[in-house]
Each structure stands twice: as structure tokens, then as C-alpha cells.
């Protein structure tokens, strides 16, 4: 009898083991995978992302155009998303396409040979005039390209058109005009500029003020060639402090979204990337009547060109993914003018493809304006330009500075300590 029981127990164990094995085995085979570089692959592409954008709607466009649909998996939590993607490289679940960040975070993946190279895609796109060659720099590591852009967004200032009209303020073209506008708005009890502490937006005004004052210093700081305690950086922080003390910023501790603050008439201007247009529209604020945009003027006009921050949302293909060919085919398509026109129409933003059509007149004008490379110079947003450990510390320190405005030295020293430790190892 005991043998029978032992047998039953063994069977139970075997069943449990099989169940566990089933759980860890590869899931369903993809409905279609790449069928080789020689033929155009079609099928459904797994797309892991951290964006709240409507990729299912966009999937219909690509399905009709090139026969590839998207099966998006969206992570609402950025940290959970990063942890998942990193862990997925160790399994056979490496995604065929996933969103990521340029700068140090992309270098980290490339350093481990985890991302598929996209140099041929870039060569072809640039040869056909589908993408500005300056964008390629953001995707270049050791002379090769990795990932492709979903969008490239310029940072502009969104403003409340009705409020500006009410107080007879014209969109400023110089820093002095912008400060004058801020003084007028403040005198009417309105917070001129949006400001927010914490992760991720605590860097915004440091970026605007530093790059607007000395773009080379900004770049040197990002690459560890300059110190955060440099007197020039301290001077920039004191400019920030001056604006704080004049009451030009909204409450950095507020949990009310900036578009809601603008909608309720408490806030006049919000500095953000061109992707923010769709958020304003979702909040019920209409382009052209409720809000407009202007390029953020340089603090120091002697720099010559006005610096414009850019950020880009890359789509990357895992080097060892089963869907690598399908992912690369989709990446190539997403850069085309058809795809970018459709994407701009869906998102209401500015397409990076010069041949693509911006969906709104506002962004058509901005696009034309920023295309003048004699007047504007783009630079990578602080969030991507700064190595992650330094960035995390900087966001904390900037938040401390915003919460208790005063002598910036201790906050800058805090960032410099982390930067020094990081650059000593890299």
C-alpha cells in the first residue's frame, strides 16, 4: 500500500514539475516572424513599451501599409518597465521591438551587445531625405547606429492664448520679453511658469537656464568635463533662485497636472516637448484658440544660435529576439514619410521626417522655424544626456532646491559628489 501512496506522491510531484515547466516554457509562437532579410516580413510584432500612446490604432495603419501589426504591451510604471526589459534579455522573451531612451541608457545596452544595429536603415533613410542627419547623432554609439526614432520632439513653451490676449502680452522672442511677460502675469496673480519637483521633471528649469546661458558648459557637465560646483553653474542656479524669489513658478510640490492648472487659469506657460500637444487636447484645451507655442528664447543672446532641447523616443530591436527581422522592418517603416504623417496625425505632434506633414498649423510653423540651422541649435535633453545615477541625484537635489530656495552650493555639491564618483568609474 505504501508503494501505491509513494507512486501517487511521485505522480503528483511529476504533475507539479510539468506544470512548472509549462509555466516557464515559451508561450505561443508568434503569429508570424521574420522570414529572412531577402523577403519582406509580415506578421504581428510584439512591442513592449512605456508610453501611454495608442499603438493599437497605429497598428491598423502599419498593417494596411506593410502588413505588420503591433501587439503592444504597455507598462505604466517606468521602473517596472526597465526591470522587465533588462531581465528579458536573459531569456528567449527578448522583445522584437521595445521603447527605450537614448544617451547613457542606450549605451548601457549596446555595451552588452543586446540591441540590433540599425546602421543600414539610417543610411537608407538619410539617402532618401527621410530624416535629418543631426538626429542620427543621437542614435550613434562608436560610429554605428542602434534603434530608430518613433518621434523626435523639440522643447517649446506652451502658453495660454486667452490669458496672453487678456493682458496684452505677445509671444516673447527674447529672454527679456519673456521676463517682462512673467512680471505682468505675476502682478495679476497668475503663476507665469510651470515647475515641478521630483522625478522626472525637476531638471526642466536647470536645463533651460544652463543651456540658454552656456550650451558648451551644459554639454561639458553632461560628459563629466565640467564640475557642478563651477562658478558659472552656481551663477545659473542663482538666476533660477532669483526667478523663484520673484514668484515666477507654480508650486513645485503640486500634484495637479500642469494642463489642469492652465485650464483653471492659474498658470500661463508650460515648457515641454512637442509630444505634449496631445495631452493638452485630451484635457480639452484646443490648439490655436486655447493654447499656442513659441520657441524658448536664450538667456544669453550672445551665444548666437538659440539652443533648443530635443528628446527622442527610440524603438529598439533586441539582438537575440525571435522577431528581429520583423522588428527591423517595422523600424525602417516608422521612419518613412507615410508613417510619420500618420503618426503626427494621431499624436498631434511635430514629425521628424522633413517630407512628412505636421498635423496642425501651429507645428507646421514651428517646424519651419526650427529648420533654420543658422538660428537654432539642438541639444539632447538633460534626462537622457546625464548618466542615470547622476541624474537621480540631481533630480533629488533640484527638488530640494525648489522646495527650500536658498544658497545652491550644498545642492550642487551633492550632485558633484555623485558625478565625481560616476566619472571616476566610467
Amino acid at each position: 500500500m505504501r508503494y501505491r501512496r509513494a507512486l501517487a506522491a511521485a505522480a503528483l510531484l511529476a504533475a507539479a514539475s510539468l506544470t512548472a515547466t509549462a509555466c516557464s516554457s515559451p508561450g505561443e509562437a508568434p503569429s508570424a516572424t521574420g522570414s529572412g532579410a531577402s523577403t519582406k516580413p509580415t506578421g504581428t510584432l510584439g512591442f513592449v513599451n512605456d508610453k501611454s500612446w495608442d499603438f493599437k490604432a497605429f497598428s491598423a495603419v502599419s498593417q494596411a501599409d506593410v502588413g505588420i501589426g503591433l501587439n503592444p504591451t504597455t507598462y505604466a510604471d517606468q521602473n517596472a518597465f526597465v526591470a522587465f526589459v533588462k531581465q528579458s534579455f536573459r531569456t528567449n522573451k527578448a522583445p522584437g521591438l521595445f521603447t527605450w531612451h537614448t544617451g547613457g541608457q542606450l549605451e548601457e545596452l549596446v555595451g552588452q551587445n543586446l540591441v540590433a544595429e540599425t546602421t543600414p536603415l539610417w543610411d537608407a533613410a538619410i539617402a532618401q531625405g527621410e530624416v535629418n542627419p543631426t538626429v542620427r547623432d543621437l542614435y550613434t554609439i562608436n560610429g554605428k547606429q542602434y534603434c530608430t526614432p518613433i518621434s523626435v520632439d523639440d522643447w517649446v513653451m506652451y502658453y495660454d492664448k486667452k490669458m496672453f490676449a487678456q493682458y496684452d502680452i505677445k509671444p516673447p522672442t527674447t529672454w527679456a520679453e519673456m521676463m517682462q511677460a512673467a512680471a505682468t502675469l505675476k502682478s495679476h496673480g497668475i503663476a507665469p511658469f510651470w515647475s515641478s519637483g521630483g522625478n522626472p521633471w525637476a531638471f526642466v528649469w536647470f536645463q533651460i537656464l544652463l543651456a540658454g546661458t552656456d550650451l558648451q558648459l551644459y554639454k561639458d557637465l553632461s560628459t563629466g568635463k565640467a564640475s557642478y560646483t563651477d562658478p558659472r553653474v552656481v551663477a545659473v542656479m542663482n538666476t533660477w533662485l532669483d526667478l523663484e524669489q520673484k514668484g515666477y513658478f507654480s508650486d513645485p510640490g503640486s500634484k495637479t497636472q500642469p494642463e489642469e492648472q492652465m485650464k483653471s487659469g492659474k498658470l500661463a506657460m508650460i515648457p515641454f516637448g512637442t509630444w505634449y500637444a496631445s495631452t493638452l487636447e485630451t484635457a480639452g484645451l484646443k490648439n490655436g484658440t486655447d493654447w499656442g507655442v513659441f520657441t524658448i528664447p536664450a538667456v544669453n543672446p550672445a551665444q548666437g544660435k538659440t539652443p533648443v532641447a530635443i528628446e527622442t523616443a527610440p524603438a529598439c530591436v533586441a539582438a537575440k529576439s525571435d522577431q528581429k527581422d520583423l522588428g527591423l522592418a517595422y523600424s525602417a517603416w516608422w521612419m518613412t514619410s507615410q508613417a510619420q504623417t500618420a503618426w503626427s496625425k494621431q499624436q498631434g505632434n511635430l514629425p521628424f521626417n522633413p517630407k512628412a506633414q505636421a498635423s496642425t498649423e501651429t507645428f507646421q510653423q514651428v517646424g519651419t522655424q526650427l529648420a533654420d540651422t543658422n538660428k537654432y541649435e539642438t541639444y539632447l535633453r538633460y534626462y537622457e544626456a546625464t548618466p542615470t545615477p547622476v541624474l537621480t541625484t540631481a533630480l533629488d537635489q533640484f527638488t530640494g532646491f525648489m522646495t527650500n530656495p536658498g544658497d545652491p552650493t550644498k545642492y550642487l555639491q551633492g550632485i558633484q559628489d555623485e558625478a565625481q564618483s560616476y566619472w571616476a568609474k566610467h
Binding site: 500500500m1 507539479a16 526591470a83 519637483g197 508650486d251 500634484k255 522646495t403
Partner: protein
């Protein structure tokens, strides 16, 4: 499970006159069930080892490496532990965690006891306790999100104070340390009082009536009755409630993450939040693992010290070798 023959059922005694069976009787040794028992326990044991023990061992290993989530971990000795103790924010996190431990004992446990004692024996007492118990159904994150809107600058509390012309409407509840930690403890207390009151109520119900009546006959009442009779007799419940409170407050994470993310500038961070930040925000898995181990050792140490002391007090003299 169909039982056709029970292995432990004794065989019917043979009649005294029956001829003796010449075959030797195989007597089952007392440990003969061990094999079968282990076979049945194996799936559970395997699961526990895989899901609980191996991750602990792996975390210990990671704490001695420079793992970033990519590539292979490299051993770095005690570097993570050195870095951890040199970080002033980590020392702030220890202080904040201790404030959480003390605060969670004073407010949710203290008020829970008060609610239980004052309502005990009253008519409709269970109805009185229900409002305290309802928030326990919420998750810590939900409580954090709700209270962050109440306590943010110009939030519901500030607006209410301004409306009533009371002082404090300009107070930055979540931005000044240690005020932000204190208000978060109060928010957590809003949720925790009810369940503590419930546990104390069960404890009060289990106290025998005779000694209390004897004490009343002897003239004890009010505070003296509570101090010298109820409180000692309530010790089993107090041990459990205080023990749980210490463990839960040491690993405080969800409500802080939801309300301040440990900020501004890490001033409200607890050890749980430090662990999360190092591991998942900065991708410094080695450092995060070191913090996790430190937290585990502290929690286990505190629990063992407290419980050993409490349980030893409850045991009769000479019961332990």
C-alpha cells in the same frame, strides 16, 4: 480519495485456537512512513526552496557584486556595504524608519487599544468599531494616493483650514521633514487603528471575568483596574499587536512611495524606499541588495528580541531548560 483499506487499521485478532501462521510477520518499523511523507511534502518543500530560500541566497550573493541588471555580476567584496553606510541619505532613512516604528506603536497601537477598551462592553460596540475597521480594506497605495491629495500644498486640508480661518493652511505637510514622516504615519494610522482595535477586542473578550470582578470588589476601578488587572491579562494580544506593528513599520514602503517617493530630496525616505530606489531606479542591484539584507537583519533581530522577551515572560518558571 477512496479509502479501500486503511494501512493503520489493526488486523482482527486471530482466534485463540487458530493455528499459528508459519510465515513470519513483517513488522513495519515506526519510521516506515517517512518516505511517503517526504514524497508528499516534496512539492511544497521544492516550492518554498525555489520561491523563498533561493532568492534570499541570491540576494546575499548580489549584495557582494556590482550587478546593474545587465551582463554578469562582478564580485566587489563589501564595497556596497561601505557605500551604503557612507551615504547620508541612508542614515536619514534609518532615522525615518525608527520614527515609523515609534509612531506606529504610539498611534495605531495606542489608539487601537483605546478604541477597544472604551468600546468594550458597550451596547452596539461592534457598530462603533466598524468605521475604524473599514479603511483596512484599502491597500496602502490607495491610502497614500488619497492622502497625498489631501495633504499636498493647497490641498483639501489646507483649503479646509483656510475656509475655517484656522492656522496651518500655509503648512507644507509633505515637504518639510520630519513633518512629512509624521503626517504619513497619521495617514497609515487611519488605516491601521481598526484592525488593532479588533485584535485588542478579541483579547479583552478572552480575559476571564472572575479576577476582574474580584478586583472591583476590592475597590479597583478606572485607571487602576486597567493598569493592574486588564493590561497584564491582555499581554498575549499586546504581544501579537506590538510584534506585528514593529515588523510592519520597519518595512514601510507603499504609503511613502505613493505619497512622497521618499522626497523631497530623500528627506522622508525609509529603508524600504531606499532599497527600491537603489535597485529599480538606479539599477544598482548590488547596493539595493545590501540595503535589503540590512533591513532583513534589523527586522528579524528586532522581532526575535521582542518576541523572545515577551514569550519568556509569559512562561512559568522552570519551564525552560
Amino acid at each position: 480519495m477512496a479509502v479501500t483499506s486503511h494501512p493503520s487499521r489493526p488486523a482482527a485478532a486471530p482466534p485463540a485456537t487458530a493455528p499459528r501462521d508459519p510465515r513470519p510477520v513483517r513488522r513495519r518499523p515506526p519510521t516506515s512512513y517517512q518516505g511517503a511523507a517526504w514524497a508528499f511534502m516534496a512539492p511544497g518543500t521544492v516550492l518554498v526552496v525555489l520561491a523563498l530560500y533561493l532568492p534570499v541566497v541570491y540576494t546575499v550573493y548580489l549584495s557582494f557584486t556590482d550587478y546593474t541588471g545587465l551582463g554578469s555580476p562582478n564580485l566587489v567584496g563589501f564595497a556596497n556595504y561601505g557605500e551604503m553606510f557612507r551615504d547620508t541619505a541612508f542614515l536619514t532613512a534609518i532615522t525615518n524608519t525608527l520614527i515609523w516604528v515609534v509612531g506606529s506603536l504610539v498611534v495605531p497601537v495606542g489608539v487601537g487599544l483605546l478604541v477597544a477598551y472604551l468600546s468594550f462592553g458597550l451596547r452596539l460596540a461592534s457598530w462603533l468599531r466598524i468605521p475604524f475597521l473599514v479603511p483596512y480594506a484599502l491597500s496602502g497605495v490607495a491610502v497614500g494616493v488619497v492622502f497625498s491629495f489631501v495633504l499636498q500644498n493647497d490641498g483639501a486640508l489646507s483649503q479646509a483650514l483656510a475656509f475655517l480661518h484656522l492656522p496651518g493652511s500655509e503648512t507644507r505637510w509633505l515637504q518639510e521633514a520630519p513633518l512629512n514622516t509624521i503626517v504619513m504615519i497619521l495617514a497609515a494610522s487611519w488605516q491601521g487603528i481598526g484592525v488593532n482595535a479588533l485584535l485588542f477586542t478579541v483579547g479583552l473578550q478572552s480575559i476571564p471575568r472572575e479576577p476582574l470582578e474580584a478586583a472591583r470588589v476590592d475597590g479597583a476601578s478606572g485607571w487602576r483596574l486597567f493598569r493592574h488587572m486588564v493590561w497584564p491579562l491582555l499581554r498575549p494580544s499586546t504581544t501579537i499587536v506590538v510584534g506585528l506593528s514593529i515588523v510592519n513599520s520597519l518595512k514601510t514602503f507603499d504609503i511613502v512611495q505613493a505619497m512622497t517617493q521618499g522626497g523631497p530630496n530623500r528627506v522622508s525616505e525609509t529603508l524600504g524606499v531606499s532599497m527600491y530606489r537603489d535597485t529599480f531606479v538606479n539599477s544598482e542591484y548590488g547596493l539595493g541588495s545590501a540595503v535589503a539584507l540590512f533591513l532583513t537583519v534589523i527586522t528579524l533581530g528586532a522581532s526575535m528580541l521582542y518576541l523572545r522577551r515577551q514569550l519568556a515572560v509569559g512562561e512559568p518558571k522552570g519551564a525552560r531548560a
